[in-house]
């Protein structure tokens, strides 16, 4: 029962705060660029507005186009259920085997790609091809990063990994965390991989795939990407500060964990906004280098971890 409630609290907290995360990044970016910027609560209104709007769906699409938003949103909600974001030891924590996590991430990406291809527009196909290029490069880095955690902590679920991962006592985790941050940027279509605010049809990756979606479907997809950003923000923060999570159902522990969620979101959003304001987006053909570096950093972590075990 306790585990069930813990998971329930985590789901409500993450799903509730997600649009705020996106809005906060936008606001920080605006402030850093000398603009006033919209309220960080704007994405809630955007999603509500989209839900009320009529949908325009191309005649050339099949049923796949219609299930994509649900699969993408479903896969992100699954991640919210199993990952240690607000609490440790949730109901479904045992499902969070790192191979499953990598698989669910890939599932979301593949369906998004299919949604992009469905409408047979030039941009959807272009975005889809770019996304698959990135996905195939991200995948090995994800596996290697979590493998490092697995070796260090001897656990295979993310939940157990993060409980046992103390970055100060196991230096092998430092490269793994660095790789995790790079993966998080690529997975969430942020700088330097993709520009989330782009209006340029020709440069976009994620936006190109969702270009043909409108109304409630678009709301689902936007919500899914907001949740994903929140998941990765919290993951990166949690691996650095695992003590900020609640592991029992006492009111104090929960309140502290929830308070920390807001603090973590604010700090991560600000760092992301800062990063996106001080660098230019990379040339698309440099992505390979970026993600290869992520992979090799993760690999070096794994090597350190294996060496420290055998010694």
């Amino acid at each position: 029962m306790n585990a069930f409630l813990l998971t329930g609290i985590q789901i409500v907290a993450v799903l509730g705060i997600s649009p705020f995360t996106v809005g906060l990044v936008r606001m920080f970016k605006a402030r850093l660029q000398g603009r006033h910027g919209a309220s960080p609560f704007l994405p809630y209104i955007t999603i509500a507005t989209l839900l009320k709007k009529q949908m325009v769906i191309s005649k050339s699409t099949s049923w796949v186009f219609k299930i994509v938003p649900f699969v993408v949103l479903g896969s992100t909600i699954f991640l919210v259920c199993v990952l240690p974001l607000v609490v440790f030891g949730g109901m479904f924590a045992s499902l969070g085997h790192f191979i499953i996590i990598a698989g669910v991430l890939a599932l979301g990406a593949v369906f998004l790609v299919m949604g992009g291809l469905e409408s047979a527009s030039a941009f959807g196909g272009m975005g889809a091809s770019r996304e698959m290029t990135l996905a195939s490069l991200v995948e090995p880095a994800v596996i290697t990063t979590f493998a490092t955690f697995a070796v260090v902590t001897g656990a295979f679920t993310i939940d157990a990994m993060f409980q046992g991962a103390h970055i100060l006592t196991s230096p092998a985790l430092v490269p793994a965390v660095a790789a995790l941050i790079m993966i998080a940027l690529a997975e969430n279509a942020r700088y330097p991989v993709d520009n989330p605010a782009t209006h340029l049809e020709l440069t976009m990756v994620h936006e190109a795939m969702v270009l043909e979606y409108s109304g409630p479907y678009l709301a689902l997809l936007e919500y899914a990407s907001a949740i994903k950003l929140t998941i990765f923000s919290l993951l990166v923060a949690n691996v650095l500060f695992p003590l900020t999570l609640a592991s029992n159902l006492s009111a104090a522990a929960i309140a502290i964990a929830l308070g920390f969620v807001v603090v973590k979101i604010v700090i991560v959003s600000f760092s992301l906004a800062l990063l996106e304001s001080v660098i230019a987006k990379m040339r698309f053909y440099r992505m390979h280098e970026f993600l290869t570096i992520a992979f090799f950093i993760a690999l070096s972590g794994l090597v350190f971890a294996l060496m420290s075990i055998s010694l």
């Binding site: 030039a122 520009n195 049809e201 230019a280 440099r286």
Partner: protein
């Protein structure tokens, strides 16, 4: 060698009118051969090619080629007549690449056939315009309602495994003018790139016919909003050339002032737009556009509008500027240029930004010469041409701006050159603002029959205007925005780059749809 000597060399007689040498009208067979000789033997750039309808005078159609003799600051105009019954001549494009769009334009607008033109497709007329519609012929009324036709307007296709065609526009995601681009790509690499413009033809040239000199001003200033002062200046210079008006010195200086202010405004915009919007280095855009706004507000304060309009008038300038206004201009401009230099240095030292800009959108000198590229993109590719020095107008002969030329020809060179030119412009602005502010600012313009030419180095490049006046009103007014010559460069700049870098190439030229789409 000056213009007269060149004409003698090719056994042509001609009259010299100031800095324009008008060759006697020649036979159409000779026309093409002669133009080819001027380009090949004397390396004269073809500056303009246009047609006229002279059927009312019994001459059929006229075709005219204007060559620039940069060294002696002169122009050479070669003309030929084509009979109404058979308006054909041998295409110049076969050997003079720079004529390619001009000849297609004349085919659409006048029905003059350039035989052997390598690209016989329509240019201005889209599918919906019926065959044999030639709007610039005198017997075509400006308010003609056309039938809706469905003529072919094919785009280039490439066949092959993995070749993918991306149509972009004419409606874009940003708030820009309409233009359609067709990419043929293999993966992300661009193989060919072609544009289809002329979506919002305004009929400016037709509307100008029959207007008086002053009635035409708003139309000229509206050709391209970001170049209002430059177009107006080119036009009034053409009129003054025709009327032999002596513009007072202070008016000339003030014209230089407004032209340079426009240059600073738009260079600010472009530096911000390329680095900021093109690469996603948002801080450049945020600050650049804020700084540009200062210039636009300066225009609002001094001239009553945000786009440097209404100041240049035939005979001089529209109003005297007070001492306070001049010091406001000098102070604001200095502030703007200083801030932009800081921003430029910030960008220059950003590895990420330079990585995006360098080697992107390469325009080689050879291509730039062949296509007759103009203005800043040409100078960034090593072509040392600038109307301010080669055909001095306004007060440039005395002020002698230093012309900067870069050789790399990539997006970075074009970005950098804007920052460099801005500093030079500031010097000119400060000189004019600090000079003695007295004397008349306009002279009377006595309109005669005849033709005149005006050339201006706008921020975008050489802007030309040729005016023919008959019975006190405009008979034909050719307005040539530099964009008209530079649009075709995309076909050369784009291929080899990857699709996500195209917006950067596009922004580095910043061409006007409206200025091309008269």
């Amino acid at each position: 060698m000056n213009a007269q000597q060149i004409l003698q060399n090719v056994q042509l007689s001609g009259e010299s009118r100031g800095n324009l040498a008008v060759a006697q009208t020649i036979d159409k067979q000779e026309f093409t051969r002669l133009c080819e000789r001027l380009v090949a033997e004397f390396q004269l750039p073809l500056s303009l090619f246009y047609a006229t309808d002279k059927r009312s005078e019994g001459h059929g159609f006229g075709i005219h080629a204007l060559f620039s003799v940069d060294a002696t600051h002169e122009w050479i105009l070669i003309s030929a007549h084509l009979p109404e019954s058979d308006p054909r001549y041998e295409s110049l494009t076969k050997s003079v690449m720079a004529a390619h769009w001009y000849e297609r334009y004349a085919m659409d607008m006048f029905g003059i056939i350039a035989e052997g033109h390598p690209d016989f497709r329509r240019l201005v007329h889209h599918e919906n315009v019926p065959l044999h519609t030639h709007p610039l012929r005198k017997d075509f009324a400006w308010n003609t309602k056309m039938e809706h036709a469905n003529e072919p307007y094919p785009m280039h296709h490439i066949k092959g495994e993995g070749i993918y065609e991306i149509p972009v526009g004419p409606i874009h995601a940003g708030i820009i003018e309409p233009g359609h681009f067709r990419f043929n790509v293999a993966g992300e690499r661009i193989i060919t790139l072609e544009g289809k413009l002329f979506f919002t033809h305004k009929g400016v040239e037709k509307l100008l016919e029959g207007k008086t000199i002053t009635e035409a001003m708003p139309f000229i200033e509206g050709v391209s909003g970001d170049m209002a002062a430059s177009h107006a200046l080119a036009y009034v210079q053409a009129v003054e050339d025709l009327a032999k008006t002596n513009v007072p010195q202070r008016a000339k200086e003030l014209r230089t002032l407004i032209a340079e202010l426009e240059r600073i405004t738009m260079h600010t915009h472009d530096i911000a737009n390329m680095a900021g919007m093109g690469t996603g280095f948002t801080v450049m855009a945020a600050h650049g556009f804020r700084i540009k706004e200062k210039m636009m507000r300066l225009s609002e304060r001094v001239f009553g509008n945000r786009f440097w309009k209404g100041f240049v008038v035939p005979g001089g300038v529209g109003k005297a500027l007070s001492k306070d206004q001049l010091s406001d201009i000098a102070k604001t401009t200095k502030e703007v240029v200083d801030e932009m230099q800081d921003l430029y240095n910030l960008g220059r030292h950003s590895d990420g930004l330079r990585e995006r800009l360098e080697t992107t959108g390469l325009l080689t000198k050879e291509v730039a010469v062949a296509y007759g590229a103009l203005g800043l993109p040409a100078r960034a590719s090593g072509i040392d041409r600038d109307v301010r020095r080669d055909h001095p107008y306004a007060a440039y002969a005395e002020l002698k701006p230093e012309i900067q030329v870069l050789s790399k020809g990539d997006v970075y060179a074009r970005w950098k050159l804007r920052a460099l030119e801005m500093v030079e412009s500031l010097k000119l602005v400060e000189t004019v603002c600090g000079a003695k502010n007295e004397g008349p600012i306009s002279a009377e313009v006595n309109i005669k029959e005849g033709m005149g030419i005006g050339a201006v180095e706008s921020w975008r490049g050489e802007s030309l205007c040729v005016v023919y006046v008959k019975d006190g009103v405009i008979d034909r007014c050719v307005v040539r925005d530099p964009s008209f010559c530079n649009w075709a460069l995309f076909g050369e700049i784009g291929p080899g780059n990857i699709v996500p870098d195209f917006p950067l190439c596009n922004k580095s030229l910043n061409l006007s749809y409206s200025g091309t789409d008269l």
